[in-house]
């Protein structure tokens, strides 16, 4: 049985996530005057259509691109020495200290409670088209995996093979991978919630809603 209280305490002890903002590609970096301790906002709007706070501009081949915050939080550390220089891809620009939101706490606790179906090997994973369509139409929880159900397409070295689900029956509660991204072997792909667990999960959600206080 899951000790929700203990896990909550544990998370409360370190309620932050450090997000490193790195350059997506090469180019000349130009900060916009942010200082450590400044607050930044993540994407907003009803459809997340408004980008987050502008952190820096990256210019490559006369094409100036904004780098925006992906989560809200505090700017903790800026590599100000890079201002105006040409940087390689994947260089750290600054770090955002992000206070976990209720949803994220729930997700973290659930990751321990749910049955996790993991990637058997490092590869790119996709849902099979039918399941993909179902998820797009009715959300993740509309999919009910059964033992032996073909759910994924594994793309590895440009070869694609189907992958069947194995594990208890239930509903998909969470999807942990981005379609088309590389997933390491052993990383969870989906979290499946068994019928019997539904009350437990409700309990987790209620508790977090009640006990977790969000901070900006």
């Amino acid at each position: 049985m899951l000790n929700v209280k203990e896990m909550l305490e544990e998370l409360k002890a370190s309620p932050y996530e450090e997000i490193e903002v790195v350059t997506p590609h090469t180019g000349v970096i130009e900060f916009v005057g942010l200082k450590p301790g400044d607050r930044v906002a993540g994407p907003g709007g009803k459809w997340n259509e408004k980008p987050g706070t502008l952190l820096a501009n990256l210019t490559r081949e006369k094409n100036k691109k904004p780098i925006c915050a992906t989560q809200k939080g505090l700017v903790t550390d800026i590599a100000a020495g890079l201002e105006g220089t040409f940087v390689e891809a994947g260089v750290r620009l600054l770090t955002i200290r992000h206070f976990l939101s209720k949803d994220e706490v729930i997700a973290r606790i659930l990751k321990k409670a749910l049955y996790l179906f993991c990637a058997p090997e490092r590869a790119k994973y996709y849902f099979v088209p039918e399941i993909d369509a179902k998820i797009k139409a009715g959300g993740e929880q509309s999919v009910k995996p059964r033992e032996g159900m073909e759910m994924f397409i594994v793309s590895r070295m440009k070869r694609e093979t189907p992958l069947a689900y194995s594990g208890p029956e239930g509903i998909v509660y969470a999807v942990y991978f981005q379609q088309g991204d590389n997933v390491d072997g052993g990383q969870p792909l989906i979290g499946v919630c068994q019928e019997s667990q539904l009350t437990l999960i409700q309990d987790v959600v209620n508790r977090v809603q009640g006990e977790w206080e969000e901070q900006d």
Binding site: H25, R60, E61, A89, G90, E121, M157
Partner: protein, 462 residues
């Protein structure tokens, strides 16, 4: 790697780009060794041309080498390098040459206009059913004449690609229905009714002619032929032998010497005619009856250039005693230097064989294997050159095969005075090779060494 070494040999400074996934691989290591940290730049992806040009600008580079893949055959990349405000010399043919020869059908038309024999079939999209049937009929007849028992015609949508809208037909009766199906498919999905009819290429002898030409395209030479007939599924080459045929020790059932001179002459003539201005490969097939047909032109340097280099000698140049470095020639030509020699100065000596050691499972449709290499060694010999990006070979530390790229582990080139010697040396190399490791999904790691071993027998005992 050989590009980096060639740069150093020629005395050029270089900057090598790499991606995060490649940070530990051999070529990055080598670049650091040869040029220090300054000669490396991490980029997002090898496929993002802007990254390469941005790095080139930042480093004040004057030329760009596109490597073997991705951009080497991309005429847009070449055009961009040549026409951008801060122009870079593209180490490869001019972009319009790449464009003209990059399209197989176009290549076919050019070849036919120069009376170079090409694969039987249409050289333009066919819109008329009668015409298509007639072509198919002729191809079947041709195949019968060539002694092929089960003739096969390929029907493909001219605007298609990537395996879509292509079908094989084995007899004339089904041809009509297949033709209509493909035509309707093309009309619906590609809004282009054009269909190509071509003979399917069987396991013929696959010959390549290595050509080099200087800027301006006036002077072109070849570095002999190589035989790339041993291929795995999906037409991936595994073993290459140079020269293409060895009539002195093997009987092919046709006049192999004449075929060799025909393909080299045709290739060089065509290179001159299209003003080809860098290194490139003319790919041929030779039917069992000894008729050569041009298949396509590769407008880039290929991995297997080394096997042609190892048997080539330049008159009066002692540095080519162990072969011509074709990559160095490519860089030289790409920077606009003249060839400095003619075909008469190119001589040939001995036989070369090249093995590609690949982490793949020949028993399972050559599925690539991923995993960790724990041990990778071979016995060094003066007649053997192995290039590998696996650091295990140098340092002994384990290496994880990166998953986004070719699982090519190593390339081994072996030289021998004649076919018999090469055969012996090749087997000796394969016997002395140690390669162990674990696959992430199937232990242990499998390679195609066993496959190479058996296929060498068939190839060299032809």
């Amino acid at each position: 790697m050989r590009i980096l070494t060639a740069c150093v040999e020629l005395g050029h400074a270089f900057v090598c780009v790499y991606t995060e996934a490649d940070a530990t691989s051999g070529h990055v290591r080598l670049a650091r060794e040869l040029g220090g940290g300054e000669s490396l730049r991490r980029i997002r992806s090898y496929q993002d041309a802007s990254e390469i040009f941005a790095v080139a600008d930042a480093c004040q580079a004057t030329a760009v080498h596109p490597g073997y893949g991705f951009f080497a055959e991309d005429f847009r990349f070449a055009r961009r390098a040549e026409t951008r405000d801060r122009a870079l010399a593209f180490i490869g043919p001019s972009w319009n040459v790449i464009r003209d020869l990059g399209d197989k059908i176009n290549t076919k038309r050019i070849a036919r206009s120069l009376s170079v024999p090409t694969i039987p079939g249409s050289d333009r999209p066919i819109f008329d059913e009668m015409e298509a049937v007639e072509l198919a009929q002729t191809i079947f007849a041709f195949q019968t004449e060539q002694g092929i028992e089960e003739g096969c015609v390929l029907v493909k949508a001219s605007a298609g690609g990537g395996g879509m809208g292509i079908e094989e037909v084995y007899d004339l009766d089904t041809f009509r229905s297949v033709y209509r199906r493909i035509r309707n498919y093309a009309k619906r999905n590609l809004s282009d009714e054009g269909v190509l009819i071509e003979q399917r290429i069987f396991d013929f002898n696959h010959l390549e002619v290595q050509v080099a030409a200087e800027r301006g395209g006036m002077n072109a030479v070849h570095f002999g032929t190589r035989n790339c007939s041993v291929q795995s599924l999906g037409r991936q080459k595994r073993i290459e032998v140079a020269p293409g045929f060895d009539p002195s020790s093997l009987d092919y059932g046709f006049d192999a010497a004449t075929v060799l001179s025909a393909v080299t002459n045709h290739s060089v003539n065509m290179a001159r005619a299209v003003r080809y201005d860098n290194v490139g490969t003319w790919e041929w097939i030779v039917t069992p009856k000894g008729d050569p047909f041009l298949m396509e032109v590769n407008t880039r340097i290929q991995v297997e250039n080394g096997v042609s280099g190892v048997i080539s000698r330049l008159r009066g140049r002692t540095d080519t005693d162990r072969g011509v470095n074709i990559i160095a020639e490519q860089i030289r030509l790409g920077l606009g230097e003249p060839l400095g020699y003619t075909q008469e100065d190119v001589g040939f000596d001995g036989v070369g064989i090249e093995y590609r050691i690949i982490a793949e499972d020949p028993a399972d449709r050559f599925t690539p294997c991923l995993g960790r290499i724990e041990n990778f060694r071979w016995t060094p010999e003066p007649w053997l050159t192995v290039s590998t990006q696996v650091p295990t070979a140098l340092t002994g530390e384990p290496y994880d095969i990166p998953m986004d790229f070719d699982p090519n582990l190593a390339l081994a080139i072996i030289w021998g005075a004649d076919l018999a010697q090469v055969r012996v040396r090749g087997e000796a190399f394969l016997d002395g090779l140690t390669l162990t490791g674990t696959d992430t999904s199937r232990a242990p790691l499998r390679t195609n060494v066993a496959f190479l071993r058996t296929r060498t027998q068939t190839l060299l005992h032809f």
